[in-house]
């Protein structure tokens, strides 16, 4: 275990955790970036998805957006944005790229969730005299909730991963520890950073998994994957 002991000593050195380049500061940046972008993309994607899902239109848009989004390399978009005039304004290129890539999973999952609501239930609700708005908030959204949450989880985990890449273009966050390690040609630091990032991503996934179970409506709990 010759490769592991320097990694362990990096991780247990207090100086590596404190200060401007320390793990705690990078972790805070990472969390801030992830949740700001999650909120922004949810604000953009969810109203659109709920409207489209309610109207039953634009399915092709939601699906195509997700498919195209998959083919575009995040790293390329980050660099492209960095080289535009936006690149001179701190975190903006990162934030824009992160939001752009978080929108497709949110949009598709919420749209599919809305469309998968049993049409008999929708008709029954209409028959009871519900207006469009009531139908959305009282019937469709609660029933689509598990899938909407799945979209939020996928987007959040993806944001954690993408925020790591942001370090390649000079953004903050945990990935910075890894890139700094590469610049110093310090394998222990690279591996230690990678361990921290991986553990953080796994914890995030686990937290969302638990949160999803906890806040789903009781009748839908078993449907969650």
């Amino acid at each position: 275990m010759n490769t592991l002991s320097p990694v362990w000593s990096w991780l247990t050195t207090a100086a590596n955790w404190s200060g401007e380049n320390g793990v705690w500061h990078r972790l805070a940046q990472h969390l801030f970036l992830t949740f700001t972008c999650l909120a922004l993309s949810a604000l953009i994607a969810l109203p659109v998805a709920l409207t489209l899902g309610h109207l039953g239109r634009g399915g092709a848009l939601a699906v195509n957006l997700a498919n195209i989004g998959r083919a575009v390399p995040t790293f390329a978009v980050l660099v492209l944005l960095l080289l535009t005039p936006l690149g001179r304004h701190g975190q903006w290129p990162t934030v824009i790229a992160l939001v752009l890539f978080a929108i497709p999973p949110l949009l598709t999952n919420a749209y599919v969730g809305m469309r998968e609501v049993d049409q008999d239930v929708v008709r029954a609700a209409r028959g009871m005299g519900m207006t469009g708005t009531q139908l959305v908030w009282r019937v469709e959204v609660p029933l689509a909730f598990p899938l909407i949450l799945t979209g939020v989880r996928i987007a959040a985990v993806q944001l954690v991963a993408t925020a790591t890449l942001a370090a390649l273009v000079g953004g903050g966050g945990l990935g910075r520890i890894i890139t700094a390690g590469f610049h110093l040609a310090s394998t222990p630091q690279v591996v230690a950073g990678a361990v921290i990032v991986a553990v953080f991503a796994l914890l995030m996934e686990a937290a969302f998994e638990l949160g999803q179970r906890w806040c789903a409506p009781p009748w839908a709990r078993r449907r969650i994957r």
């Binding site: 390329a76 985990v157 991963a161 950073g193 361990v195």
Partner: protein, 251 residues
């Protein structure tokens, strides 16, 4: 120092530049070749691991949980961290990138293979058994072909995300077009960054279309009758359509 001629887009550092394409042709071709090589190798390696895993998990059900669990955990690790974690094992090599990307493709491939195999109707399997097919022949001649559309859907997503993720390999110097993007970033060479990015997307689209073509060639029965009954196929099932909610690997 003389001022560059007004039409010299390289000197102006324009985003779109024909001069870049002609002067750096060989560099671009080399990068594309490396990109294709890395992508194909990693997806092939992923497939070589995923098929036995899926078959094992199907044979011994207790393996299903661990297989899906472990591949999902691997899938959660960000790419930059994944490449860095493999660094002590493989060093700064192309193998590092190939292994990392292959690990990512496992989840999609295993899940879709299993979904496809589970989607084979019980009557079909019974019919095959009734015709005297042994377990091996049943698997090869009946179940795998019927699971193909779902498996191909997974393969297409895995390949497209592998093309996009290969760019991150630039951190260890083996990123295909990603190398050009990385170098272009450091020197603010706009034409190089844009050209490499566009080529990346084009490459993903070409791979996707190729796999779609392969899928159509391998499943002739799904085309038969389509002209006769154009709307006969019902929605749902483990069809060849991409799973709407599956998300590709990113970042």
């Amino acid at each position: 120092m003389t001022a560059p001629p007004p039409d010299d887009c390289l000197a102006h550092n324009d985003w779109i530049c024909g001069g870049y394409l002609t002067t750096r042709r060989q560099i671009l071709l080399d990068a594309v070749a490396q990109h294709i090589q890395l992508t194909v190798l990693s997806v092939a390696l992923g497939l070589a691991i995923a098929v036995p895993l899926a078959l094992l998990a199907r044979r011994w059900r207790w393996m299903l949980g661990p297989v899906l669990g472990i591949t999902t955990v691997i899938y959660t690790v960000p790419s930059l961290a994944m490449f860095s974690l493999l660094l002590p094992v493989y060093g700064l090599s192309a193998t590092l990138v190939v292994v990392g990307l292959a690990l990512y493709s496992l989840t999609l491939l295993v899940r879709n293979l299993l979904a496809g195999l589970d989607g084979v109707p019980a009557e079909t399997k019974e019919a095959a058994r009734g015709m005297g097919y042994g377990p091996m022949r049943q698997l090869l001649a009946v179940e795998l072909p019927l699971a193909l559309p779902a498996a191909m859907a997974g393969l297409r997503i895995a390949t497209v995300s592998a093309v996009a993720l290969t760019t991150v390999g630039a951190i260890v110097g083996y990123g295909g077009l990603g190398n050009l993007i990385y170098a272009g970033m450091n020197s603010f060479f706009k034409a190089q960054v844009l050209t490499a990015s566009v080529l990346c997307v084009l490459l993903a689209v070409v791979f996707d279309l190729l796999l779609l073509g392969v899928e159509r060639l391998l499943t002739p029965w799904r085309r038969a009758g389509r002209t006769a009954r154009p709307r006969a196929r019902k929605a749902g099932g483990a069809g060849g359509r991409r799973p709407l909610t599956a998300s590709g690997r990113r970042g």
